[in-house]
């Protein structure tokens, strides 16, 4: 099995930050995996994701995605990966349909392909009826689903989702998780950042548990669980690794 993502001693410190957001982080993700990037708030998940898609430059270390170094081939790689950032990245005064058409255009997709993809995903995520309503009027869950569709239009080989279920109702979350299971079945690799451990238990094949910018444990889910036979489930393991202190 080939490797879709390789992080090698990645470090990033924000200007004026007291400590690095990501510190000497290394892990690999094999093709076809659903990789759960798990960590409490402020662990460095979003920072890692931004470096993964080449929009943030690491202070040191390298990121390679689909076999290409992101520093040099970022634009090329971005055409093949789909990213749903943690914050909603949509035009609020455009309708759902207009947003997707525009993004499809910017991906360089053909007209009929855009049409086909939009129809498909609007049904999958139950947004058909709201397709011609402005996104600004959507609920949080609807925005999150649309945000996810925007990352999928061009049928990427690797999908990176930064907390796609945060602030979403149970129905929406269930819909998203079901979809990701199907997507995995089609062979798409998925990076899934979250701090909701039941979700991770439900869909992830591989885990990377991080805190304070460093990797605490990584590998297949079975491998990670096997390291800690005293833990019954992922939540116990997570608390054991990251401690019980409350995070901001």
């Amino acid at each position: 099995m080939s490797i879709v993502v390789r992080l090698d001693h990645l470090t990033k410190q924000y200007l004026k930050a007291p400590r690095p957001a990501v510190s000497n982080m290394s892990f690999e993700i094999p093709e076809g995996a659903v990789f759960g990037l798990l960590g409490p708030n402020g662990a460095g998940k979003s920072t890692t994701v931004m470096m993964l898609c080449g929009l943030m430059r690491p202070d040191s270390g390298t990121v390679s995605v689909l076999g290409l170094d992101m520093q040099e081939h970022g634009a090329e790689v971005r055409k093949k990966i789909g990213v749903a950032p943690q914050e909603i990245a949509l035009f609020p005064t455009l309708t759902a349909h207009e947003n997707l058409v525009y993004f499809g255009r910017m991906y360089g997709l053909k007209k009929d392909e855009i049409k086909r993809q939009i129809e498909k995903y609007l049904s999958v995520f139950n947004l058909r009826e709201k397709a011609h309503k402005q996104v600004g009027t959507f609920s949080g869950g609807m925005k999150k689903r649309l945000n996810l569709i925007a990352a999928l239009l061009h049928q990427p080989r690797l999908v990176i989702l930064d907390e796609p279920t945060a602030g979403v109702d149970v129905q929406s979350r269930n819909m998203i998780l079901d979809f990701l299971t199907d997507l995995k079945a089609e062979g798409t690799s998925i990076i899934y950042s979250s701090h909701v451990l039941e979700e991770a238990e439900r869909i992830c094949t591989h885990l990377g548990i991080i805190d304070e910018g460093t990797v605490l444990q990584t590998g297949t889910r079975g491998h990670v669980m096997a390291q800690h036979p005293d833990c019954q489930n992922l939540e116990q393991l997570f608390l054991k690794l990251t401690g019980k202190n409350i995070r901001d």
């Binding site: 634009a75 055409k79 990245a89 035009f91 005064t93 058409v101 910017m106 402005q134």
Partner: protein, 422 residues
């Protein structure tokens, strides 16, 4: 095509932004109409106004007749007859009239007598048959009353004109008197009209490049291009505002996630606002042509060279859009961008001669105005509208505008790139 899609997206965004639409299309209309109306009077003051002057003719003789006749022929002054000098004074004091000319009783007679006495004295000095007469003659006071608020140059030219008419009358009478005294006792020679004023004529005209004459910078002619310039530069408000909103709302992040090149995104935005600027231009010109006359103002004259006007409008639109993009890219928050942006446009417009024409500004500001892109545009439009300038005349300003556009865009791209990857 990505640029076209972006252009359409920008169109949708603006069309759904009532505030932005109002700023782009309603505000300039209101501004240009209000300013043209407000400045109509001051502009008339600068030039074409017809000064109404009260005329009190207690003399009712040849001199006052001459003065009346002379002013009747003048395009700048019209006399309004008034019998009572006290009433005249009151009306000028009240500001109803800018000036009053009061010709007292017997002015003509006094002038005539004085002339006769002069000639007689000269004849006597030369030993010719004449009776020297040195009895002092009573003087008469011809009065011109001015409203204290009158412009100094009006005051000068009005009194200058009256003095000149008196001098002319006196000269004519001197000649008359000479003829009649020399001809005493002889059969009278035919009276001659010497038409002195026809020897040296002073004619005035506006120095202008070509035969096209008679168009002056009036309120409409100044305000329409001036506020068009302002409106075009003010699109930075919705332009930069949208830009920052997209950054804050994350849609810009989405676009960065989609592709490597931000060129179509910026180019589409630029093209759209460029077209908005041209639309504004057409709209404002239409107001100048169709609405201004309807408000009782003069109609905007375009000169006639449509191609040159189009070229200039494009150059201004490029410069304005480039500036807006730069402001949107440079500033981090909408608050900063919009306050800096609008203040800078107001300042650039003030020194650029939008509020009042550059030529009535203090010297120091006049030299500053050379640095305002709005003055480059305004100068070009004045050249085209008033003087039908050739492309050669407007080219330097057009090139400056294009260069400004290129520099701002280049800077925008560099800054935007530097912030794309943190």
């Amino acid at each position: 095509m990505k640029i076209l899609s972006t252009l359409y997206k920008e169109f949708l965004l603006l069309a759904r932004d009532p505030g932005g639409m109002a700023l782009i299309f309603i505000m300039p209309l209101a501004l240009v109409v209000v300013m043209a109306l407000v400045q109509d009077a001051p502009f008339r003051d600068y030039q074409e106004i017809k000064l109404e002057v009260l005329f009190v003719d207690a003399d009712a003789d040849s001199l006052s007749a001459k003065i009346k006749q002379a002013f009747a022929a003048s395009p700048n002054v019209s006399l309004v007859m008034e019998k009572d000098s006290i009433v005249a004074k009151k009306r000028v004091q009240a500001g109803d009239f800018k000036a009053a000319i009061i010709i007292p009783q017997n002015t003509s007679a006094a002038l005539r007598n004085k002339t006769r006495q002069l000639i007689t004295t000269v004849f006597a000095d030369f030993g010719l048959p004449a009776q020297a007469d040195s009895t002092p003659l009573p003087g008469v006071d011809l009065k011109i009353l001015f409203d204290p608020a009158i412009k100094a140059n009006y005051k000068q030219s009005l009194s200058g004109a009256v003095e000149k008419i008196i001098a002319n009358v006196q000269t004519a009478w001197v000649l008359d008197e000479l003829q009649s005294q020399l001809g005493e006792g002889k059969p009278a020679p035919p009276k001659r009209d010497f038409k002195l004023t026809e020897i040296v004529r002073v004619s005035t005209q506006y120095a202008s490049e070509n035969k096209f004459q008679g168009l002056m910078l009036n309120s409409v002619q100044h305000n329409v291009p001036a506020w068009t310039m302002f409106a075009m530069f003010f699109i930075l408000y919705p332009l930069a505002g949208n830009f920052i909103k997209e950054r804050e709302e994350g849609s810009m992040l989405r676009l960065r996630l989609i592709s490597g090149s931000q060129f179509p995104v910026i180019a589409g935005k630029f093209s759209f606002y460029f077209l908005v600027c041209l639309t504004q231009f057409v709209m404002m010109i239409a107001v100048g042509i169709f609405v201004m006359p309807w408000l009782g103002l003069s109609k905007l004259a375009l000169g006639g060279d449509a191609l040159n006007i189009f070229i200039t409008a494009c150059a201004v639109a490029m410069a304005a859009t480039g500036y807006g993009v730069l402001i949107g890219v440079y500033f981090k928050t909408a608050q900063q961008a919009l306050s800096f942006g609008s203040v800078s446009v107001v300042i650039l417009s003030a020194i650029g001669g939008v509020w009042v024409p550059v030529y009535v500004m203090p010297e120091i500001l006049q030299s500053l105005s050379r640095f305002s892109p709005m003055s480059w545009g305004l100068e070009s439009f004045n050249d085209l509208f008033l003087r039908q300038a050739s492309i050669g005349v407007i080219l330097p300003n057009v090139l400056k505008l294009v260069a400004f556009a290129l520099v701002t865009l280049l800077a925008s791209v560099v800054i935007h790139k530097s912030r794309t990857v943190v």
